[in-house]
Symmetry: none
Subunit: 73 residues, 2 copies
Amino acid sequence: MTATTQPRQNGQEQLLTPGEVATLFRVDPKTVTRWATAGRIGSIRTPGGHRRFRESEVRALLAELTNDVNRSI
Amino acid sequence: MTATTQPRQNGQEQLLTPGEVATLFRVDPKTVTRWATAGRIGSIRTPGGHRRFRESEVRALLAELTNDVNRSI
DNA sequence: AGGAATTCGGGTAATTTGGGTT
DNA sequence: ACTGTCCAAATTACCCGAATTC
């Protein structure tokens, strides 16, 4: 499954917007901002002050906080 | 501008809040929490500690526990 | 250069959590 | 064993206007 989301740059880390992270966790984008402020998740700032998040970190966090029925962590 | 602002990279799972799951089963949200704690249903935690549930899993559980009248198998 | 959508900030409701109890 | 309710504390959701992104 080749991602057709964004133009891929060589070996660069994919960055996610607050809205995209919010969708993954089913929370409000502002909540993602609070996570960043609280240091629960790393963030990168655009020169204009908007936050971006590393996809790998977000997905790792999501996996870490997931409790499946058939699989005890 | 176009509809390609942020194309869905989401082959992702739709998540439900405890309150939404509680509504589906017509129980108290706390009861849903107990199901999660008992491992009866999978859950995903936000970094803040709130739970989210996979909609597909919830629906499947609903269907599995549903007893309909047997009208011509 | 203009426009739509998103994301800043802050502030204030609503929901969720966990424990203990019924 | 299972569920509903009470409580305080923590987390999250929605409101606004202004700035940023594309």
